[in-house]
Every structure is written in structure tokens, then in C-alpha cells.
Symmetry: D2
Subunit: 284 residues, 4 copies
Amino acid sequence: MDRTLTLSFSCPDASGIVAAVSSFIADHRGWITEASQHTEHELSRFFMRVEIRADSLSFAPEEFTGRFRPIAERFGMEWRLSDSARPKRVVILCSKQEHCLYDLLSRQVAQDFRFTVPCVISNHETHRRVVEAHGIPFHHVPVDPADKGAAFRRIETICRETHADLVVLARYMQVLDEQACRTLAGKVINIHHSFLPSFAGAKPYHQAHRRGVKLIGATCHFVTPELDEGPIIEQDVIRVDHSDTPEDMVQLGKDIEKVVLARGLRAAVEDRVLLAGNKTVVLR
Amino acid sequence: MDRTLTLSFSCPDASGIVAAVSSFIADHRGWITEASQHTEHELSRFFMRVEIRADSLSFAPEEFTGRFRPIAERFGMEWRLSDSARPKRVVILCSKQEHCLYDLLSRQVAQDFRFTVPCVISNHETHRRVVEAHGIPFHHVPVDPADKGAAFRRIETICRETHADLVVLARYMQVLDEQACRTLAGKVINIHHSFLPSFAGAKPYHQAHRRGVKLIGATCHFVTPELDEGPIIEQDVIRVDHSDTPEDMVQLGKDIEKVVLARGLRAAVEDRVLLAGNKTVVLR
Amino acid sequence: MDRTLTLSFSCPDASGIVAAVSSFIADHRGWITEASQHTEHELSRFFMRVEIRADSLSFAPEEFTGRFRPIAERFGMEWRLSDSARPKRVVILCSKQEHCLYDLLSRQVAQDFRFTVPCVISNHETHRRVVEAHGIPFHHVPVDPADKGAAFRRIETICRETHADLVVLARYMQVLDEQACRTLAGKVINIHHSFLPSFAGAKPYHQAHRRGVKLIGATCHFVTPELDEGPIIEQDVIRVDHSDTPEDMVQLGKDIEKVVLARGLRAAVEDRVLLAGNKTVVLR
Amino acid sequence: MDRTLTLSFSCPDASGIVAAVSSFIADHRGWITEASQHTEHELSRFFMRVEIRADSLSFAPEEFTGRFRPIAERFGMEWRLSDSARPKRVVILCSKQEHCLYDLLSRQVAQDFRFTVPCVISNHETHRRVVEAHGIPFHHVPVDPADKGAAFRRIETICRETHADLVVLARYMQVLDEQACRTLAGKVINIHHSFLPSFAGAKPYHQAHRRGVKLIGATCHFVTPELDEGPIIEQDVIRVDHSDTPEDMVQLGKDIEKVVLARGLRAAVEDRVLLAGNKTVVLR
């Protein structure tokens, strides 16, 4: 695969942004392999993502940031440049359930999208063997109900020391405390096993069963201190019917949980997810 | 199409129900063309639906009720017998939006499932011409905000006089009052333009847009006095993204609203929908 | 709704295209409300679509074509400019089946996307009344098996006289002859009732039933002289199972046929569909 | 979980089958937890599946076969009785691709449906470590292009010795020879990476890309000597667009391949799949 640079940004909407960015790239002979954009009219805010072949540019990839900065400043951009030569580092947190973990391990092996897993952290020993079979360090961090903070501080430390770009809660059955949410703000992606905003909180499949819905869902979202209220990245649903018990729903739901989480993670890893208030813009 | 009798019932779960029903039919040489069943373990209640070719029975279709009654009483069944020779009568209520009305008219023309439309009732004149082009009577029943009850009483009267088996709220923009809900209890099917229980009440697409969901939905349910809380018959969703405004969602949502309503109506017309508390059993 | 101009084009891929187009628009103060692009690497061809608020430009909308031409010529563009003030004219051809026709009439009433229907043409009288109830002229053009050409020549004439931009075969049960395909090339959109390339030709649902597939589909495509081989615009599927007869599939399939046709038509009406060999690029 | 017996059968259609089966069960106090049935009218053949709580019967589970035989013989049934106390044994064959293997391992760990994996066989060493981390034997059986038969004979032997009930080709990249198809007839389940009958044979995603389809699919089917022509058990599709290369499709397709394979396997493991000529009846 060719080395690519990915520029993603948002800024106040204005005339001439695309012209400035595309002229900058064209002037340095950059070959754009993908570009997409969006204007959020309510917020008067513009969002863009551009992928450029690194070897097409007339300057070294390392110079991009410095050369682009004047344009970024002119338009007041919040921006980020990612380099495919430095894949994103994704720390996985899990508990006893296996489906999301196995799915992520499978994708890490396949490298269908590029990321590395510096370690897996769990409050149970359950999956040590399969994780270590991949040469990935496994950290058992039990959560003491009397002092949950200690475990979360340890998790924060591990994430810092492994230079985590993203932290995935792969059906991790503990609610991060406010301090962890703040320390890791913008980096933590959760999979909730309902079609939010329906059935937030505990035992969503049991809630769904009680209401008699005909579809159950899963929601991948950024974690914020407000439980299950963070910006939604991706969602999907699966059909159920009257014959499905809550236990059946738990089983059926796994197939969408893991796929929705993986799609959300992929979008984040590929710098397609930009924040717009409490919502996301997910650029293709 | 052959004439069929459809027996549907629910009763307390017990041993020997299927044996009794199937033996009764077999003993009278009935040819079963479809059968399905369900046990709701939480309620210890059994549900069944059987379709029988009328001409296969050793007695006249009109005798079925009398002959079957002893079995029904033995098991304490709530039961219903429908005869394809007497199609269900479906009164349609609509307002200004066209999509559900046109879809239902199209299905009434096609007779993909058998039903007749004795009349269409609307609080607006908008669709008189297209309805009357089908030879279907159109009743304009305006709703006076100062005396809504008068309109609902008029609707009840029309439904009674036309012997309505079912009343479909095809994006009818008025909330039936409690009296209408009670008078027409078990007969009124509504399409709500959200994936309930998310976004009940007014302007669900605007609510969905604010929350930033990635799918929008529609819910077909029985109407009860508690707004948008009745038993759900059918639901579906459609994908949206950050670029869709609330107005886009209104448009996109139409395609699932009309299909979900039609599927729910079909199930009801074919006696596949049985109540289990505030939920439905929809037998295939 | 605001008046918009939509520029859509494809051209050999090259550096600087986006820069040139976006600078042209920015230099004339154009406000871009939507933009999307695609590079077809195999063909080294670039595709773009831009929507601009007409009143934002520093010149009159009528001047756009003349002013933009030098850029179009520089890059060898195949291009088109559409003006929302002149909605696309869509001629509908149908036979006896009602579902696609009713669906399109419903959308024409709603104007969820802007198009007009100058007339409906059918080889049967079946739907005259409902069409005329909308104030739309209905032309009965029977097809004589001994001289089909005569009917198709008549259809070509009507399309020419009504200035049709697009011609929709809404389950029109006649195969256009080669001359009609050529005369109306690039304008005729068909809905085929299978997931092409499976089950091309006659009675696709019966073919599907014989093979025992678990999903059935519908395909919206441009008509070319090779039956069911034209560029695909849109497809979708619906679940079936062993209990569905070919007749059930015919009924179930209607719900995707009409939606897939409408989505394809919408994309074409909004100038989102560009040809890339025998494939389509459908820009969002 | 309670011990259950599952009776599944097909037989020539006749009056009184359900009555006989349900009376037999009721007479021995059997508690039916699930029942479903289907009549294939074209073949005049009846299909049924019944799940019974083993401890509810008035005789020992081991006696069921002997006691039921007279009924089976009376109606000419092809029938099978499964006992949840003896889970199905599923041998997995894979090559280098990981997604289906990981997905099946994850399900084997979860036991969402009951099956054991006596061994994994592969023509590559790639996945030995992860398989063995589960305590499952891994057999490397390389396929010599000059003598493929030797490998297939070895596979047949392993399947026989491990008492395999089912053999899953989890993206196993070798085509079984005719002898293997016959020896393992009715036991081998494959996942093909297209929506059959479209794109049978090699490189289906490349075929799909060339045709410009808007959805890609996966098909789970029984293996017969005719490549990709066996009875279809399950299918599903996923949306693609013009921007997806064949390589993108390969990646996207994985998510449906693994889910479709797992759903097909589950149906087979739960005795829901019955053959009707070259088609399947999949009873819920």
C-alpha cells in the first residue's frame, strides 16, 4: 500500500475554503485519492477530509504541517494530519464476553484497515490466552467495587504509556468514572447494545423485550461523562420477533454489536469522524 | 383464489391443544394450508393460527363455529374465525400527506392481500379526487380545535355504519380522543414516524436529527389512549447520515412509513396479529 | 426552496481540476451547498457534482455556461448544467401493474424531489382514471404484436413533443426495440424485478423460486439495446423463504421495485448519475 | 439449559400428520417448546420440526426412536431425532483468511448455539496458534496440486474419525473433489462470497465490480459435486458503491460472509434445515 497523508478539519463556513485547500495541494503537485466535505448549515461550520499520496507531493511529508498551517489559521480550522506510516494505536478493554474482542483481533490480523493493538486490558482473566496467542500484551486490571477509581487510574496510565490514539470498550462491563472520561476525552469509543436513545442504561435487551419492539439495535458512540449520551458514530439493527426471549436477543444482538463497533472504529481510525456539537460528521 | 377459513386463537398453555385442534380438523378432512403457533412462556399462554381450505371440510363453512366451540371452551380460548369470502373492511383516515394513502390505494387495486375500503375520511379535502377516481366514498370531516370530539364522534359513526373491521391512521394528523380509542379499541392501527420507543410524540424526525442518530424508523402499532404506547405490530428503519436535514428525514422516512404500515395492515387483515398483554404475537 | 444550479461533469483525471472549479466558483462568490467527487482509477477519469445557490453568484445564472466553458474545455469535460427553475420532465410508461405508477404519482404530488410528468403512456387503458385525476394527460398506445415498431415510433414522438428529459419504464411490459433504445439513449430508466445479473429476462421471480434463493431483488438501470444489460443505477433486496410461492414473490417484490425505481429516478433527476463505461457513478 | 429432543422430518403430504405427531407427544405428556411446519405444494411434501423437553416425557429419551417409529413408517417419513445432550460435532476447514474461523471460534466459546469443534483442518499453518489456544486440535493438511486427492482422502479420514456431523468450509480455498463430495454428502456447508446464482466460480467480487452492482452478497449452501450449485441455506447482502474497488469489496464482504455462514451453520446444527429437491426448507 502506498503511503498517504490524511488531512481532516472543520472550520467556520466561508467562501473559498475548498479553493484554498485544493489549490495548496495542486500547487505542490499533490495527488488527491479521496476527498469529501460537508457543511453543517445550523452551525455554519464546514468539514473536510482529503487523502493525498505522500510521494506525489513536491515536499517531504514531514513538511506538510508547517506549510499548511497558514491556511489552517486563516480559516480558523480545527485540524489533524495523519500519516499512514504511523498506524493508529488502539487499546482494547473487554470483560468476559468474547464476540467484540474476537472480531477486533480478527481485523487486526487482517489489517483491512490499518491499526495496531498495543495491549488488551480486562477486568477478567478469561481471554488472556487468545490475546497472547496474537503476541499482544494482556493486562488484568480487576475493578474493586469499593475503589473503582484505582482501576481506572491504572487504565489511564496504561493508555498513556502505550500512546493510545483510541480506546475501545469492547463490551467492557464497567462504567468509566468522570475522571477517566475527561482524561481520555475524545478517544474512547463504546458499543452500547441498543438503538440509542432507546433503552439506555442497564439490560437494554430486557427493556426491548418488555416493550415488544420488532428490531433490536446497537450503537457505537464516543464516551462522555453522561452515560450513553455521547456523540453517535454508527448504528444498526437486526430483526427479532415475538418468539425471541431476552436471552435470544442477547445472542442475536452480538452480530450487530461487533459489526457496528468495527465500522465505528474503522471510521475513527481513518479520520472520518469529526465532531459537530454532540453529533458526528462521518465523512466517506 | 380458493375460499379459506382462518382460525386464530390464544389460550392458557396446556398439553394437548395442538393435538385437539389438528385432530378436529383431520377428523373432518380439513386440508390445512398454513399453520403456525407460539408459546409465550412468561404468560403461560399459547397462540395459534390455522388456515383451512373451506371446500375440503366435510361440513359447510358456516358450521365451523358451532362445531369448534366445545374445543374452544375446553381450553378457554379467545378465538376468531375469518372467512376469505368476506374480506376485511378497512376505513382509511388521512390528512394532507399522500404517501400512505396512495400506497394503500395501490394495494387495494392490486388485492395482493384481500381487503375492501368502504370509505376514506380526512380532515382536509386534498385527496378527494384521487380517492373518488377509485369509486371509494370520501368523507371530509374537519376537526374544530374548539370541539374535536364532534369530529371523532362523526368518525365513530361512519366506522360503525360501514362495518369497519379495521381503521387505519394513514398519517392522520389528529390524536384520537380517549372515547374514540375506547369505541374503536383493537381496531385502530397507526403509523408513527419513529422507531418507538424513541421519539414518541410530535416532530420525531426533528428529535432524531437533534440526537444525531444514524438510522430513522417507523412503527406500526395499535392505538390505545396512551399516545404512541400501544402494542407494536411492525417496525423498520432506514439509514441517514450527517448530511440529512430534518426535512430530508421527513422525505426519506416516507418510504418506510408506507411499507411498515402496509405490512402491519396485511398482518392484521390476515389475522396474524394476536395480543399478548401490551405486545403482539405476529404469526407467519 | 432556493434556486440552485447543479454542475455535473466527468473528465480525464488530472491535477488541479477541483482547484480550478472551486476557484472559479469562489471568484464569483458562489455559495456551494453540496459537492462530491470521485476518481475512477481504472479509467483515469474524474467525476464531480456541485450545487450552487443561484443568487449567490456575481453574475446571472444564464451566464454560467458561457463563463464556465473555458474550464470545461481545458479539462476535456463532458458536462451538464441544470437549473432548479426548470424541473426535469419525466414521461412515465406503464402497463397494467399499478405499484410503480402510484408510487411515482405520489412523489410527483409531494415534490420531495422536483420533477414534472408531462404525460403517462400505456399499452392498456387500466390506469387512465387515476392519472387524469392528477391533471396529467394519459396516452393509450396499444402495441400490435405484428407491428410493434409503430407503437414505439409513436412513443418516441410523444417524448420528443413533451421535451422529455427522462423516460421511466414503470413495469412497462414491452421491450423497446433497438431504434427506440437509440433514439432515447441515456434517457430511459427501467426497473427490472430481479437482482441483476441474476435472473435477467422473463419471469425472474419464477427463476428465483426455482433456484431457492433466500432474497429477491430489484434493479434500476439505464436501458440499452442489450436486454437487462444496461448500467445499473440502484438495487435492493428483500427477504423471502421456503414458504413463498412465485406469486408471493411477485407481491413482495413490488415493495422494492417501486422504492428502487424511485431512488434511481431521484438520482437521475438530481444529476447525480454519471456514466463510467457500462457502470454508473452515483454521487451523493 | 434443559435437555431437549428435536424431531425433524419430511414426508409425502397427507391428512392427519400433525394430528398423529401431536397426539403421540401429548399422549406421553411431552411438553412442546417449539414447533413449525411447512407444506411444499409443488412436491406434495410436508416438513415439520418439533422440540420437546426431554424430562416431560413419560418415557426415557432413549425410547423415543423406538416408540415413534410406527408413526414414521405409517407416513413414510425421512426423519431424524437429535438430543441436546449430544451436541453436534463440527469440523472446520480453513485456509489463510481469518474472518470466518475467528467468528466460529468466538461462537464455539460462547455456545450461543450448542456445538463442539473436534478439530480444525487447514492447508496452511497460519492459524495454528489461535486454534490451539482454544484447546482444539489443528491439522495441517497441505494440498499438493499434483495429487489433490491425497489431501481430500486425509480430510475424509479425519472427519470420520472425529465423528463429524457437519463440515464447514470457512473460506477454505480448495474445491473438494467429487469423491469427497459424495463421501461427505449432506454434511458439508460452504460460504460462497457472492449472491448466488450471480458470480459463481472464481473471484466473485471482481466479477461484481465489473458489472457495477450496487450490493454484494454471500451465500451459505450445501456442497454438491456441481460447484456453487448446491441447495442454498442462507444469503445476505451489503451495500457498495462506485467508490469501492474489488479489494474494498473483499474487505466489506467479510462481514456478511461470516454472519451468513454462522446463521446457516446454526440452522443446520439446530436441525432446522431440511432438503426439498435442490432447495432447502429452513424451519424457524
